[in-house]
């Protein structure tokens, strides 16, 4: 009577360890504002190939993934100066073909679900607006933009 139970337990011990399903997220480019003038807003469109942020995704084909941006509110500059950033409802976009000219727009301030292409790839783009003050300190400013991706259960 005890043999079958022992056999099953043995199989369980031989089973491979659980593995996590992950999707690779590659930050190709951040938002590039270039030269800005004090007091003049600089708007970067998500369709601007040379200036919009781009993240390339690689995972399992046809799987739905959940996208969540961690959006910096400011960029940091010289001597502790900060430069405000602003995000609008259509500032983010997703392309399953990884074509910046063929995006589905979404609000980067909220999570968004997308489906990876058959080959498991996709790209996420982001634009936003920098708002230097009239007395903005001159110099270089930077901020870290993060995209977190997880398979939608």
């Amino acid at each position: 009577m005890r043999r079958p139970v022992l056999l099953v337990c043995f199989l369980a011990a031989l089973a491979p360890p659980a593995t996590a399903q992950t999707v690779q997220v590659n930050g190709v480019q951040g938002v590039v504002f270039g030269t800005m003038l004090p007091g003049a807003a600089t708007v970067i469109s998500r369709t601007n190939a040379s200036a919009a942020a781009r993240f390339d995704l690689r995972g399992t084909g046809r799987r739905t993934v959940n996208l969540t941006f961690t959006l910096p509110a400011t960029m940091s500059g010289p001597s502790g100066a900060t430069l405000p950033l602003s995000y609008a409802g259509g500032d983010a976009g997703y392309s399953s073909t990884q074509n910046i000219g063929n995006q589905v727009g979404f609000d980067p301030r909220t999570t968004f679900n997308v489906t990876l292409a058959n080959n498991g790839r996709g790209s996420v783009f982001l634009g936003c607006t920098a708002l230097p003050a009239a007395n903005q300190r001159a110099g270089n400013y930077t901020a870290t933009l993060t995209l977190t991706v997880v398979y939608f259960p």
Binding site: P4, V5, V8, A12, A15, P16, G30, V32, P38, F55
Partner: protein, 157 residues
């Protein structure tokens, strides 16, 4: 016997189910804020003139613009000069001196052939000084005071 086997198989399935792990990628957002351009000016004054007279003010003794901006950065200067100060009060023969330090004696003379125009330049010091002079000609002009603006507009290229 059957019950025990079923329980064991379910446990096996749970042990091998993959987890859903979040992955993140980051990228740097970058930008450079230019030094704000400031322009202040002092007047080009002809003083008192007769109803009919020609009077020239040399640039070194004329109006002056003091400009601050980012060093070593190309900037476009658009200017608009008045042709007259009023009826029968004509302006002509505009001339300018340009320097990156506050010294008209070592400044570069810039001829001005039209009343509007554009120059592109840069300064290694982050400062520009422009002196402007002109010739005023009155032809039986009415008594009174006359003034017109001289406009400089600077834009980073």
């Amino acid at each position: 016997m059957r019950l025990r086997s079923s329980v064991a198989l379910v446990s096996l399935a749970v042990l091998t189910a993959p987890s859903l792990a979040a992955q993140s990628g980051s990228a740097q957002m970058t930008g450079t804020v230019m030094t704000a351009i400031t322009v202040t000016g002092s007047d080009l004054k002809f003083g008192t003139v007769l109803k009919t007279q020609t009077k020239t003010i040399a640039p070194a003794a004329g109006g002056r613009f003091v400009i601050t901006l980012a060093a070593n950065t190309n900037v476009t200067i658009d200017y608009v000069l008045p042709a007259t100060l009023g009826p029968n009060v004509a302006l002509s023969a505009w001339g300018a001196l340009y320097n990156t330090v506050n010294d008209p004696n070592s400044a570069l003379f810039v001829p001005i052939f039209t009343n509007t125009g554009t120059y592109t330049t840069l300064t290694p010091t982050g400062s520009m000084y422009i002196w402007i002079g002109a010739t005023l000609t009155t032809t039986n002009a009415a008594v009174g005071s006359y003034s017109q603006p001289i406009r400089l507009t600077l834009t980073y290229n």
